[in-house]
């Protein structure tokens, strides 16, 4: 039975999608507390606001205000351990990055970039 150090090996680790493309970082870990049983990992979060919250609630509020410009539904993006396909230097999950919530900023910028600037192809 292998033990994983959540903070050392999971938190802030790069998350890749099923095509090995970068999806984001593990910005937060949520534990589920259970009566009479040890807590277990409920889900992992990939969301900028979650990361800033680790500095303080004030930063989270600013980040959220900013992120509202491009964030659609599905935030904060969460995945469970069942979706993890490979775990090592990076965490690979069975998700398509292009369709996952963390890419909202990417899509929003593509809209503004493609529309305005030539050569972006």
């Amino acid at each position: 039975m292998k033990n994983i150090d959540l903070v050392r090996d999971v938190l802030d680790t790069q998350v890749l999608d099923r095509e090995q493309r970068p999806l984001g970082k593990v910005d937060g870990i949520a534990l589920e507390l259970r009566e009479g049983s040890p807590p277990r990992v409920a889900y992992l979060e990939v969301d900028g606001v979650t990361a800033w919250r680790r500095l303080g609630e004030r930063y989270a509020r600013w980040a959220a205000k900013l992120a509202r410009h491009w964030q659609r539904e599905g935030h904060p993006f969460r995945f469970t351990w069942r979706q993890v396909r490979d775990f090592g230097i990076d965490i690979e999950i069975d998700v398509d990055a292009e369709r996952a919530a963390p890419f909202d900023l990417e899509h929003w910028l593509r809209e503004k970039l493609i529309r305005r600037i030539p050569g972006g192809r």
Binding site: D12, D27, G48, L109, R121
Partner: protein, 405 residues
């Protein structure tokens, strides 16, 4: 055979990319004011940067991570955010200095004020990143950067006294102007050990997909590339010492530095200086913009890569776009480019520990490096030089500010 070509290209890239506005400005000032006596500062900085660059290559090869990615993972978001923000801010100031350098070169050539060039120059830098690939950017500017070898040629033409030259490698306080001497020493070290250099190198190793077979080539590229580059920096000091100091010309503005190649090359001297300044700064501006975009993308886990079309890496491309725009604004503001450059270099020296020390921790972490962790020797060398530079900077900067007011 391919490996040898690769090593050669890597070395050439490092030479062409070594000289930038920081090295030119600090070396020119140092040579004009203090002759050869600051050569030791370039040497010290170079030794440190060789170690750092080799480590950065080795780190990416062995761990498969880039440095920024790993620093966030190892120290956590909260632990890394302050050094990260500080290094981005300094990068911005240095980028503004590089863009300023190109604008000043154009001002020297045409007589048109440097601020006017800010936007066209920024646009040119941006366009090359927007449309180019990593190899084109790296190799193109590196090859062009070889024009800076003219400083080396000038040294041979002017023929310095070898024994006097050698004395410059021993640190010794001059008879007067101690504060300024110290400040220049610190700025030279900051210009030589630019953190963006080794962060960029680590991203480059990943972009070029270096595997374990590159561990030894990496050592050669780091050592030879940085050494040859340093020799050019030293050449600038020597040329300034021989061409400007005897005339009593101090380099307070770039206009005065532009004279330094005339004794060696006559009519060509002025144009070679302008070309060297413009090309060296252009290459550095490209690297710096990319390095900053790499940092931000790797910190937040975005997809990144110069080979990716902007549409496929919109956040990465937006990052360097915004960066270049902000730097252009700083140049537009009309801040004296020479002063901006010198202070950026000194500030770089101050925050050097913030970037280098976490990196050293990583280099000694077996979970990332396996059996390739640092030797005690490497650790000690980098630690000593980085801390020395920072302490000197903290002392020298206030003194310089007071002295010039």
């Amino acid at each position: 055979m391919k490996k040898i070509l690769g090593i050669a290209l890597g070395i050439v890239t490092s030479i062409g990319g070594f000289l930038d506005v920081g090295s030119i400005a600090t070396s020119a000032q140092a040579g004009a004011a203090f002759g050869y006596s600051l050569l030791w500062a370039v040497l010290l900085g170079t030794i440190c940067v060789i170690f750092l660059v080799e480590m950065s290559g080795r780190f990416s090869i062995v761990s498969g991570h880039t440095i920024v990615d790993a620093i966030r993972k190892r120290f956590g978001f909260a632990g890394f955010i302050v050094p990260f923000a500080a290094s981005l801010l300094v990068n911005l100031l240095v980028l503004a200095s590089e863009l300023g350098g190109i604008c000043v070169a154009l001002q020297l050539l045409t007589g048109i004020r440097f601020q006017v060039w800010a936007i066209p120059v920024a646009l040119a830098v941006w366009l090359l990143l927007w449309l180019g690939t990593f190899d084109v950017v790296e190799d193109g500017t590196a090859l062009l950067g070889l024009v800076t070898l003219c400083f080396l040629v000038a040294v041979f033409t002017l023929g310095p006294e070898p024994r006097e030259l050698a004395a410059g490698f021993v640190p010794r306080l001059p008879g007067e102007e101690h504060a300024h001497y110290l400040f220049l020493a610190v700025s030279i070290i900051g210009a030589t050990i630019a953190p963006y250099l080794f962060l960029f190198y680590s991203s480059g190793a990943i972009e070029d997909k270096w595997d374990k077979s590159y561990i030894t080539p990496n050592r050669y590229i780091a050592t030879l590339g940085m050494s040859f580059g340093a020799i050019i920096s030293m050449a600038v000091i020597v040329v300034a010492a021989l061409a400007l100091k005897p005339e009593g010309i101090r380099v307070e503005e770039y206009e005065q530095a532009a004279l330094m190649l005339v004794p060696a090359f006559g009519r060509w001297g002025f144009y070679l200086f302008v070309a060297s300044l413009a090309i060296a700064c252009f290459g550095a501006a490209l690297e710096l913009s990319l390095a900053s975009a790499y940092s931000v993308s790797q910190a937040f886990g975005w997809n990144w890569g110069e080979d990716l079309e902007p549409r496929s890496a919109a956040r990465f491309s937006s990052a360097y776009t915004i960066f270049i725009a902000l730097a252009a604004l700083i140049v537009l503001s009309g801040l004296n480019p020479m002063k901006l450059t010198l202070f950026s270099m000194a500030i770089t020296a101050v925050i050097l520990p913030l970037t280098a020390l976490p990196f050293l921790v990583l280099m000694n972490d077996a979970r990332y490096m396996g059996e390739h962790v640092n030797s005690h020797f490497s650790n000690i060398v980098v630690l000593l030089i980085v801390l020395l530079a920072a302490i000197l900077a903290v002392v020298a900067i206030p003194l310089e500010i007071i002295g010039s007011k």
